[in-house]
Structure formats: C-alpha cells, structure tokens
C-alpha cells in the first residue's frame, strides 16, 4: 500500500473517532450555554445512560423498546437535576453550580452501579467494528463500519442542535439564561423550563455518545473518563459553540492519530494520550476563547 493511502487511512480514522469526541463534547456545550457551568457530571451521564440501556435490554426489552425507555429515563434525570440541584441554586454563582455538578457526578455514578451492578457489559448494536470491505478492496484502507456509523449519527445530531440553538427563540432563551438569571426572568424566560430542556437534551446526547463508545470499548465504568477526552475538544472549539466543538473534535481526532503514527515513534509512542492536551494548552495561550467561542470582552 502506498504511503499516501496509509496517510489517508490514518487521517480518516482520526477524523471518524474525532466525531465521537465531538459528540461527548456536545453534551458539555449544551449545558455550558445555558448555565455557564462546566458539567462535571457529563461523563457520569454517558455511563449511566448506556448502562441503563444495556440493563433494559438484559431485562428482556428489545432494542427498539429499550431506546425510547432510556431516552425517557434521561429526560427524567434532566428534569430531576433541574428540580433538585439547579432550582435551589438560582442566582448563585457559577462556582456553586460547578461544585453541584461534581456532587451530581458521584450521585449518578453511584446510582448507576447500585441499580445495574458493576460488571462490564458488551453492547451489540449490530454494527461491527470491522473494516468496510469495498473501501478495503478499492483503496486498501481499513475504515471501520462503526466509526462511519458513529460519524453519521454524530453529524445528524450536531446539525439538528446547531439549527435549534442558533438564532431561534430557544437558542436566545438559552443564552439569556446563561448570561443573567434576573434579566431572563424579567422578560418571562422560565429558567426551569430552559434548564430542564437543556439537561434532558444533554442526557439524550449522553445516551447516544455512550452507545457508540460502549459498542466499541464495552459498557463499563471507564466510560466516565471519556469526558476527559472532551476537555481539549471544548478548549479548542470554544465552550459555547456547537460548530466549534465539531471542528475541534475532528482536529483532536486527526492530530492524535496522525501524531501517534507519524511522530509517535520519535517519542517511543503513546503520544495519542497527551497530544490533544498539548494542542489545548497552545490554544489557551493563543486563542483562549477557542475557535468559535464567544469573544471574551472586558472593559477596563
């Protein structure tokens, strides 16, 4: 196989896994947009969502029934979070909310394992993590079916959310709530509906991300740490931008795979693990608001 095709293969693999990072990061962006808070519980939600999904299937529900049931459950989690965590903290500082999400993460992780046990489960979506034959035949490249499916699903979700949260009533309400609670209330934007909506949506996004990650690496507690991969994506893309995290997800995916394969050998390998963070630090130095984040404007 010529080097060119090998490079393309690595690049495509990176871009495809990048969409999975983007999907996880998307959950963070939704909540950050509506409450200016980094939701520490996002990883826990990914874990809880997919664990529940597998759990329902183990209880005998078929795939098509387990999916809406889990979506419903995640919506309930979102509503419960609004009612019991966020509502008592209206008008509190963002730091307080941040601490609340750390606590929430522990609660969700605990409840998930209490309810469904701690065993590692397999999730079979019926899509194999194997190369697509015709691509292999035509170019010799190994492109995983699962990666392509994940990318398509992520793409659809992102497009839908980007549309919804751009210049629409819902999108403005979201940003208004994030900026100023008192002012949002004064123009009749109901904080609780917006928060409920956002957390429920973030829960559903977490489910989709969890299903795709779970299908690849098993449904296990380690899914909680998938959220860590989302951090450089968020920093590069900007915490408030849906298109930003998509692009950043692709960049992170491509950089880590290309870095691993072509630069890794000079460092003895393993740079996949830290290359995205180095990139994120560079962004913090040069463009702290990220690619498409809201400009940080300070009047002095």
């Amino acid at each position: 196989m010529p080097d060119f095709w090998f490079f393309i293969e690595v690049l495509v693999g990176g871009l495809l896994s990048g969409t999975m990072y983007a999907l996880v990061a998307l959950g963070f962006v939704l909540i950050y947009k509506a409450s200016s808070v980094f939701n520490f519980a996002q990883g826990a939600m990914v874990f809880f969502a997919v664990l529940s999904f597998v759990g329902f299937m183990e209880l005998g529900l078929p795939f098509w029934a387990a999916l809406p049931v889990t979506v419903g459950l995640m919506i309930l989690v979102g509503m419960g979070t609004e009612r019991f965590v966020l509502r008592p903290l209206v008008n509190q500082s963002e730091d307080t909310l941040l601490m609340a999400t750390i606590g929430l993460a522990f609660v969700i992780e605990g409840v998930a394992q209490l309810a469904w046990g701690v065993d590692v489960r397999r999730l079979d979506l019926g899509i194999r993590d194997e190369p697509i034959n015709w691509v292999m035949d035509a170019t010799g490249m190994l492109v995983s079916q699962l990666d392509v499916t994940a990318a398509v699903v992520a793409g659809i979700m992102v497009a839908a959310l980007a549309l919804l949260f751009s210049h629409t009533k819902v999108g403005r309400g979201l940003r208004a709530v994030a900026d100023d609670h008192a002012a949002a209330l004064s123009i009749g934007i109901p904080l609780k509906h917006i928060w409920m909506l956002v957390w429920a949506t973030a829960g559903v996004v977490a489910l989709v991300a969890g299903m795709l990650w779970g299908a690849r690496s098993g449904v296990q507690f380690a899914l909680v740490w998938v959220a860590l991969k989302a951090l450089p994506v968020l920093i590069i893309g900007g915490f408030t931008s849906v298109p930003g995290v998509i692009l950043a997800g692709l960049i992170v995916g491509a950089v880590e795979k290309i870095g691993e394969v072509f630069i890794g050998p000079f460092f003895g390998g393993g740079i996949e693990g830290w290359a995205p963070y180095v990139l994120a630090v560079l962004f913090l130095l040069i463009r702290p608001e990220g690619l498409f984040g809201e400009k940080i404007i300070r009047r002095v």
Binding site: L163, R172, D179, D180, A182, G188
Partner: protein
Amino acid sequence: MNISAILQSSQRAFPVGAPILELDSISLRFGGVKALTNISFNVLEHEVRAIIGPNGAGKSSMLNVINGVYVPQEGSITLRGERLAGMRPTDAARRGIARTFQNIALFKGMSVLDNIMAGRNLRMHAGFLEVALQLPRARREESESRAAVEEIIEFLEIEHIRKTPVARLPYGLQKRVELGRALAAEPNILLLDEPMAGMNIEEKQDMCRFILDVNDHYGTTIVLIEHDMGVVMDISDRVVVLDYGKKIGDGTPEEVRSDQNVIDAYLGVPH
C-alpha cells in the same frame, strides 16, 4: 417642543386615565431590616410616575416588589383591579410588566439585535418542538418579531450597532439597548430603575426624550426611579418620595418640590 410642554399639553396621544396599579400598605423586611414600611400609592394608566428618594430609601426594593422579585410580608398589589398575591418575575412579565435594571443586566455575549429579540420571548408562543422543526408558526413568529424589533431599533436610533455584542457598547448605549429589550415585550407598564444613573448630560437628555417618546408613542405607563431630582421633575406627571423605607411625599412635581418633609430629606435638617 419643550419636555414639560409635551406633558402639559392636551395633545397627549394617550391621556392619563384610571389607576392601573395600586399598592396598598406594602411592608417588606429582610430579617430585622425594614426596607419598606406601610407604603401605599397608585399609578394611573399612561402616566409617568417617579419614585425618588435619597440613597437607601427603598426605591429599588419598591420596584422589585412591583416586579415580583421580592414578595412583601404585608400589603397588596392590585393590577387592573386584580389582586396579585405571591407574584414572581415571570408572572409579572406575563401580565405586561417589563423592567430595566439599575446595574445594566443585558445578555453580554449577545448582539444588540439578539438581546432585543430575547425581549420578545413572551410574544412568541411556538413550543420547543415547533422551534426545533421550524414549523410554520415558529417561522412566522420569528419574522414578525424581527419586524417589531427593527421598529424598536429605529425608534431608539441604534440601527448602526444592531449587530454589535452589547459588552462592547458604551454605557449610555447599553442603557438604551436595555430599554429596547423591555419595550420588545410590548409592556403595559415599564419599570425603569435609575435609567439615567451614571450618564452625562447629553445621554440624560437623550434618555429623557426616549422615555417621553415611549410614553407618547406607545402609551406605556412608566414607573421610574431616579436619583437626580431635576430630571425627574421635568419628565414626571406625579412623584412619590421615599425616605428610610417610608413614604414622605406624593404629588405633582410642584407639590413635592415645595413639601417641607421632602426638602428636609434631601437637604438634611439641623438636629
């Protein structure tokens, strides 16, 4: 035309009418601190009603009571003959009460246009799914609101900064945008918390003009808090004076100006 001439002239498009808002024996405490004690006054439809008083007199608390931010321990608020109990800010907004804040509370990262569009929130009824799927009602409301907002932008003479993020604007313009956001809801009653605080003379004159224009053009009833006596006297129909949480005067600017209690509160009395 001179400002007081507008007020006095019988040419007002919306002549002052019957009471629209009545506050009866309002008392508000924060723990042991009495912010407001037994305050009663009313606001007539289409009038410009000012609440004045020295620092810490309870002016902002009063506005926050009308807006539902604070629920008073005693007393009642009656809006168009309907007694409102335990009203929250979103209820107030739904009943046509809009407001601005003493320390500008705009959505800083958003453009002028988006800020004012956000003010249209209650005028848009499409639900989440309708918006998500861009169904006809959501699209229609969006374009209707956009047209209404353009009218306000033109009215407030801020066409040139339409797309600017509000955090970049100078103070005076931010105040004007905040007024625009409140107007976007097409309120019956507009509460303005120190609309001219921190402004220079020119900005104050502009703001006075806009307030009177709003009153004249849309017939909006205006309740405003102001620190600066001179300004208030020029633009208000009637004035309530508060001091230490108590009402010490109420009447036309002329009456209030010559009231000994008011003079004492503002200038101090020898002990």
